[in-house]
């Protein structure tokens, strides 16, 4: 194997102190997937507990801490940094044709802030754990004996800085490091998605920062801003919290949508349909997402006028999202569709995300939301969007760029694990829609007997889902050692990262690459000898 970023230098410090965006991306990947594993095991314990209505496996306090940690780790340690931190860091500069991100040191700092934040947040378990859900609603989080809340909120504060640094880096990189020829409208859609995400990371995260600081000040000093006993307003906390956490939902999903645009185009071997609509819809979603936080609070005692405005604005976000789905279908039209694993994930994404998006309409509509709010319907909805959307897209992206990152091909046969994930996921979460519409409240340790059959279905589904994910983990790790060497362009992608070798060399590009249309597949042909796609002779100089 010729010199590449993995073999360029050796030793622990060459990784720990690296400024190479590719190595930082890889370290992020290991870190976020470890969090996914930890929080996923917690989810399995939760589902196992719900096999029967009573308290079987764990007691109430343990359950509440599990449920809280599952949410907090998944949101703050896994989903938010997952695609930008891992795949974004690795792919973005190469796709752009740059040698690195704009501020490599800041990039490394962002990773270490993640580590510190994660240690403090998870370390709060040692201080007695945190319950109350990942939303930390006051005044519950201010009550005596919950010291863990301080650690967790401090951790979230630090993770916020990590997220800001990543976003800031990406925005400056995209603005300032585009090589000649890479105009805004020649950028692959993945970059548009990451760009919109980065804007959200910069503009929304400071608000969660100040909210967490105020919460800590309230908890430690009693400043009286959120504590009703001191004249504070607990609903103000909810406004502050959701002002960040709703845009955060789009920090999670926009990169997912962006990956799918790449996958659908590449595996349909077809120019993406409606490039500018998709690009602008990412930015539109980012803008609208700041105006809809109140839809988390329709039953909080907010004024009906505010509720009405938030409901109307909420629908405005749904339109650009719908547009993307129609555009993907139109991309497949008259294509040449291959069903390799990344494409399976992309198709699963369309199926699941459509369900997740459509069920959002029930929750955006005021009168139906009153019934469904804080029930399992909401749990199912956001799992369809977050897991069925972001996680599935991330898995798709991971398979797509796996040969590029590792230089190895995984076994396409075992890619069939995707089907296990798909079936298990639907069994787990579709049943939860039914639970919720029948009135089962969320965050319940024990539940009424009439919900048991559906809970059981959901739990069995979750075990299938876990099995699928473990199969995936297994064959991916296996491929690191036994996988075939990957060609430069195994899928026939036309974006710049496929122009450099797999894995890429240390400096990405020795000479600035020629930038063309990122979705023009006409000059690519399959070369059975290398198992990859090459430019037709004469197409490129």
């Amino acid at each position: 194997m010729k010199d590449n970023y993995l073999t360029h230098s050796r030793g622990f410090l060459s990784w720990a102190l690296t400024l190479d965006h590719k190595r930082i991306g890889l370290m992020y990947l290991v870190a976020v997937l470890s969090s996914f594993l930890v929080a996923g095991v917690m989810a399995l314990m939760i589902r196992a507990e719900h096999l029967a209505p009573g308290a079987e496996l764990v007691d109430a306090d343990t359950y509440n801490r599990l449920m809280t940690l599952h949410g907090a780790i998944m949101v703050f340690l896994f989903i938010i940094p997952s695609i930008p931190g891992a795949l974004g860091n690795f792919v973005l500069p190469i796709m752009l044709g740059a040698k690195d991100v704009a501020f490599p040191r800041l990039n490394l700092a962002s990773f270490y802030l993640w580590i510190i934040g994660a240690l403090i947040a998870v370390g709060s378990i040692a201080a007695g754990g945190v319950d109350g859900g990942w939303t930390f609603y006051t005044p519950y989080s201010l009550q005596d004996g919950r010291v863990g809340v301080i650690g967790m909120t401090m951790g979230v504060f630090i993770l916020g800085f990590s997220s800001i640094f990543t976003g800031l880096n990406f925005v400056v990189t995209i603005h300032r490091l585009r090589p000649p020829g890479m105009t805004w409208f020649r950028m692959p859609l993945f970059l548009w998605g990451i760009y919109a995400t980065a804007l959200l990371q910069i503009l929304a995260t400071p608000v969660i920062g100040i909210t967490m600081l105020l919460l800590i000040a309230e908890r430690v000093l009693g400043i009286g801003i959120f504590d009703p006993a001191l004249g504070g307003d607990p609903v103000l906390f909810q406004h502050f919290f959701w002002f960040y956490s709703h845009p955060a939902v789009y920090i999670m999903i926009l990169p997912g949508l962006a990956i799918i645009s790449e996958l659908i185009a590449t595996f349909s071997h077809k120019h993406i349909f409606g490039y500018s609509f998709i690009a602008f819809s990412s930015v539109a979603i980012a803008v609208f997402s700041f105006l809809v936080w109140g839809h988390h609070m329709f039953t909080s005692g907010m004024s009906p006028l505010a509720a009405m405005i938030f409901s109307a604005l909420t629908y405005s976000v749904s339109i650009p999202t719908a547009v993307k789905i129609f555009n993907w279908l139109a991309t497949m039209y008259k294509g040449s569709i291959s069903f390799q694993t990344p494409m399976l994930y992309a198709l699963a994404f369309i199926f699941l995300f459509t369900i997740g998006g459509l069920t959002g309409i029930f929750l955006g509509s005021l009168s139906t939301d009153v019934h469904l709010h804080d029930t399992y319907f909401v749990v199912a909805h956001f799992h369809y969007v977050m897991m069925g959307g972001t996680v599935i897209a991330m898995l798709g992206g991971l398979h797509y760029w796996w040969p590029k990152m590792t230089g190895r091909m995984y076994s396409e046969f075992w890619g069939i694990g995707c089907l296990l994930v798909f079936v298990g996921f639907n069994l787990t979460f579709f049943s939860q829609f039914l639970l919720g519409s029948l009135g089962m409240p969320r965050r319940y340790h024990t539940y009424a007997a009439e919900y048991q059959p559906i809970h059981m279905t959901s739990s069995i589904g979750s075990f299938i889902l876990a099995a699928g994910l473990f199969v995936t983990l297994f064959y991916l790790v296996h491929s690191l050692f036994k996988g075939k060497l990957a060609p430069a362009n195994p899928w026939g992608g036309a974006t710049l990262e496929w122009h450099c070798s797999s894995p890429p060399p240390h400096d990405n590009f020795s000479v600035a690459p020629t930038v063309g249309d990122p979705y023009d597949y006409s000059d690519l042909s399959y070369d059975p000898q290398t198992g990859g796609w090459i430019s037709k002779p004469g197409a490129h100089a």
């Binding site: 005692g301 339109i319 139906t368």
Partner: protein
């Protein structure tokens, strides 16, 4: 199985039966949204499936040229969903207003939430807990059929949420403010063929010492996370056959006065500035005033700085006297200890007293079950809980 089949067809199987007057409107909108969702979902998946099959990569088949954008079609599929959304928003909003604006003629019941119980207080002063207990068989929220009932919600500690799935109503209970929710539930004889119950096997009778009474029972949940026993902070709503039957059933069911008393005192106490320290969730220091324990302390007699050590029972009288003359019941060494924050406040004369506060001269008015007694009962009740922790 039947229900599973029904659940393919919208609200009939997916939602509990419509058991209040406002439920039908919510369910109608639910169905409206549901069928549009089914339409779009089937459309998208069918198109996707067809393209997957039709354009699968195979020998002799490559991608065919087609336009990579088409403004007209893109506008069409942006505008059509926008138009479809408007009525959904409108009906959602009007339905919400109907749930939100209680009619003027409501019967009012107070529901007071605390970790982890509901306390229902009726207009006649009777109170009931959310669960059956040894000291009282009376529990739950009892309402007459066909009446507009408004529940006034308040919280003693943290956020809770009041949810009755069968009525499609939900409202957060926020400490420091009042919120409310209203409904109007019919009564259907459990023996009649029209009778629908959710959950299946919900109680159809409520037994008191006056006999067994037919009821329609509906589950009531807390849906805002509130701590360890959040999941057991539930209860039942009992809709009785008629107003008369309701009154007859609950005749003599009023719980000992202390309970309702303490609740009344709670509403009153903040106006006398007590609750900010004495409330259970307050982290502020406050003098001992538990009704349960005995504490060592010196009673301070006027003019004497060397009071003898005596055992003081921290009981009702202790609390009452402390309200009349703050510090009178406290040990002198406590008061003179500068490190004692509440003693520090005490010396600044910051506790309201009967002498210097608004109710000077009105003391008689504040006696009895509506006044000072209620505050005393309230403080005792809170501190029993807190000191017991």
């Amino acid at each position: 199985m039947n229900r599973l089949w029904d659940s393919l067809f919208g609200s009939a199987g997916q939602l509990p039966p419509k058991l209040s007057t406002t439920a039908a409107e919510v369910d109608w909108l639910y169905d409206y949204i549901y069928w549009w969702c089914v339409f779009f979902f089937v459309l998208i998946v069918a198109v996707m499936g067809y393209f997957m099959w039709r354009y699968r990569r195979r020998p002799g088949h490559g991608a065919q040229p087609s336009p990579s954008h088409h403004l007209g079609i893109e506008l069409v599929w942006s505008v059509i969903p926008t138009i479809l959304i408007i009525p959904i928003f409108y009906w959602g909003f009007t339905g919400y207003m109907d749930l939100h604006q209680a009619p003027a003629d409501c019967v009012k019941v107070e529901a007071e939430a605390s970790q982890w119980q509901w306390k229902f207080r009726y207009a006649n002063g009777a109170t009931m807990g959310n669960k059956q207990s040894e000291d009282s068989p009376y529990f739950g929220l009892h309402v007459a059929p066909g009446r507009n009932v408004q529940i006034i919600l308040s919280s003693n500690d943290v956020l809770h949420s009041f949810y009755i799935p069968n009525f499609r109503v939900k409202q957060d209970v926020v400490p420091g403010r009042y919120t409310s929710v209203w409904f109007n539930a019919p009564f259907v004889d459990p023996a009649s063929p029209d009778f629908e119950a959710w959950p299946p096997g919900a109680p159809t009778e409520f037994e008191t010492k006056n006999g067994k009474y037919k009821v329609n029972a509906h589950r009531l949940f807390c849906t805002e996370y509130c701590g360890t026993s959040h999941s057991t902070m539930d209860s039942w709503v009992f809709v009785h056959e008629s107003q008369e039957k309701l009154e007859e059933a609950l005749q003599g069911g009023q719980r000992p006065l202390g309970q309702g008393h303490a609740g009344r005192g709670r509403r009153r106490a903040p106006t006398k500035n007590c609750a900010s320290c004495h409330a259970k969730h307050s982290r502020r220091s406050r003098p001992p005033c538990s009704g349960a324990s005995r504490r060592t302390g010196a009673s301070r007699s006027p003019g004497s700085r060397t009071a003898p050590q005596v055992q003081v029972t921290v009981g009702r009288e202790y609390v009452l006297q402390s309200i009349r003359d703050p510090g009178s019941q406290l040990a002198l060494q406590d008061l003179s200890n500068p490190g004692n924050p509440w003693a520090n406040n005490m010396q600044k004369g910051l506790y309201p007293t009967l002498e210097n506060e608004v109710y000077r001269g009105d003391e008689e008015k504040f006696k009895g079950k509506n006044g000072l007694d209620a505050i005393v009962a309230f403080i005792q009740s809170l501190n029993q809980k807190r000191d017991g922790e």
